[in-house]
Symmetry: C2
Subunit: 296 residues, 2 copies
């Protein structure tokens, strides 16, 4: 399978997803008016060899599957209502169940349903999870509301997940790897921020590529000041560009009107300008090379 | 992977799914109070080699993935709001998109979101679909409300999907195979029935095994009169037991108080009694042999 396949498939799905609630499949979640409230719903998958390492603790895979979907709800300022699991049976289902239970308890989310199926011998396994939430502020934040003059903010450092992944590849499994194995979605920050932000998303594929997506959706240019970006304490100075293009830290990236201060700890890392021919600048210049993880 | 694995995993998930909305993972869907309305949500998966034949038209796989999940909503008397797709890229993504588009249009349901991932070379593919609906009647029907004295009903014939599967295995692809390839969920019947039924479910794994599940959930005995069961017109007389233990016809199976007639075409096929030591009888005797498809 190639990147081109997924790009083509997503384009076909966009042609089908004409309902406004789908947000053109370009946002972190679907947003649906229901009764007098607003539902937020998302479904993300994880694949062996892509989203986790073969042999990785199944409890961590379960944790991450839940955390990454809840991070999409966080980006919408939504409070989780519950989740449904689509699970492929594997080598240690009991460890998966243990990790899922730990994560559900940690984030206070009920398991509501789902399905489990047998895997194919030799085939890579994949799991899916649907997370359902209740919007706490309407209009629900999107990626498309940033205005020229807005400041760009991030809730916390990037790079810890990358370092954790590298430690895990080197056979470590302790606290150094925790940020990769057990990310924590910024649910409370998302709720606090939702009334104030002009645009918001979670950083799952890399700060640079996700900032570019926010800028594209808002039809602006974002200029990131690299010296202002917060990095994981253990990160070497010469790895900063790597950290800005590696994802999975699940911080919230958002814009606020000038002069507006965020209601939670956050770092101002850049500024929005009227579109100037390219959507993303780093220290005033277009970044060279890879921006992050590309789904296609 | 063995049946024992899935049984054990489902037991572990039931231990986690303590929220009442999950209905103990023993119903067709989760039922959630939301605002002043009631949400119904379900997630079912399909696996290559289990739920579809390798080489089968991808458009039919897409259709069936949507139809089977909507059938769970039908069993709750819910009107679909939208669906999210978890898709593993494959040999003909364009045909899948075509079939999904046809099914979404046929059932009037919007695609709201989802995810797509690359498959593993040589590995079986699996897809998941989450269907979200709005309950039209509260309390939302469950499997657990049948009372002694109730009549057992079914909306239409069984056996057509089995014959369709067999025709497909024999290389046919025309109208004879349609019931297997493109089932139609009984959405309108489900809405019409919801205010009247004491219990309801869809027949996905076989009439006998699903009737037994309804009887177990209701703590009663169901006695099915085999001569009253409607069968597909093309079914040979000596295949009737096979048809009662083969699923995928997606009829609605339900109970009504004695004297109550259904508001849609349906066939009375049995009666509920106080539990008499076994949950299912056929013509007054416990059935011998296989009852249907067992997930474990």
């Amino acid at each position: 399978m190639t990147v081109a396949c997924e790009t083509a498939f997503v384009a076909m799905m966009r042609a089908l997803a004409s309902d406004p609630a789908a947000r053109g499949l370009r946002d972190d979640a679907a947003v649906i008016a229901f009764g007098k409230e607003t539902l937020v719903i998302t479904h993300d998958m994880m694949v062996e060899g892509v989203h986790w390492l073969p042999g990785q603790d199944e409890a961590d895979i379960a944790w991450k599957l839940l955390a990454t979907n809840l991070s999409d709800l966080a980006a919408k300022g939504a409070v989780p209502i519950g989740v449904l699991l689509g699970y492929t049976l594997g080598p240690d289902d009991a460890r998966f169940a243990t990790g899922l239970g730990e994560a559900l308890a940690a984030f206070g989310v009920p398991l509501l349903g789902g399905d489990s199926v047998s895997g194919t011998p030799g085939g890579g396994r994949s799991h899916g999870l649907t997370a359902l939430g209740r919007a706490t502020h309407c209009p629900v934040p999107g990626r498309d509301g940033a205005q020229p003059g807005d400041r760009l903010w991030i809730t916390g450092p990037v790079g810890a997940a990358m370092l954790g992944f590298e430690a895990l590849c080197n056979g470590l499994a302790g606290v150094e790897t925790l940020a990769f194995r057990r990310p924590v979605p910024c649910l409370d920050d998302g709720v606090a921020l939702a009334p104030w932000v002009s645009a918001m998303m979670d950083v799952s594929d890399g700060l640079l590529i996700d900032a570019m997506r926010l800028a594209q959706a808002s039809a602006i240019t974002l200029d990131i000041a690299s010296a202002a970006v917060p990095f994981a304490a253990a990160l070497a100075d010469d790895r900063r560009y790597d950290a800005m293009t590696w994802g999975e830290d699940y911080q919230l990236l958002f814009t606020l009107p000038p002069g507006q201060h965020p209601p939670c700890p956050a770092h101002a890392i850049g500024k929005a300008h009227a579109f100037g021919g390219t959507h993303l600048l780093v220290d005033g210049a277009p970044p060279r090379g890879r921006l992050g993880y590309v789904h296609g």
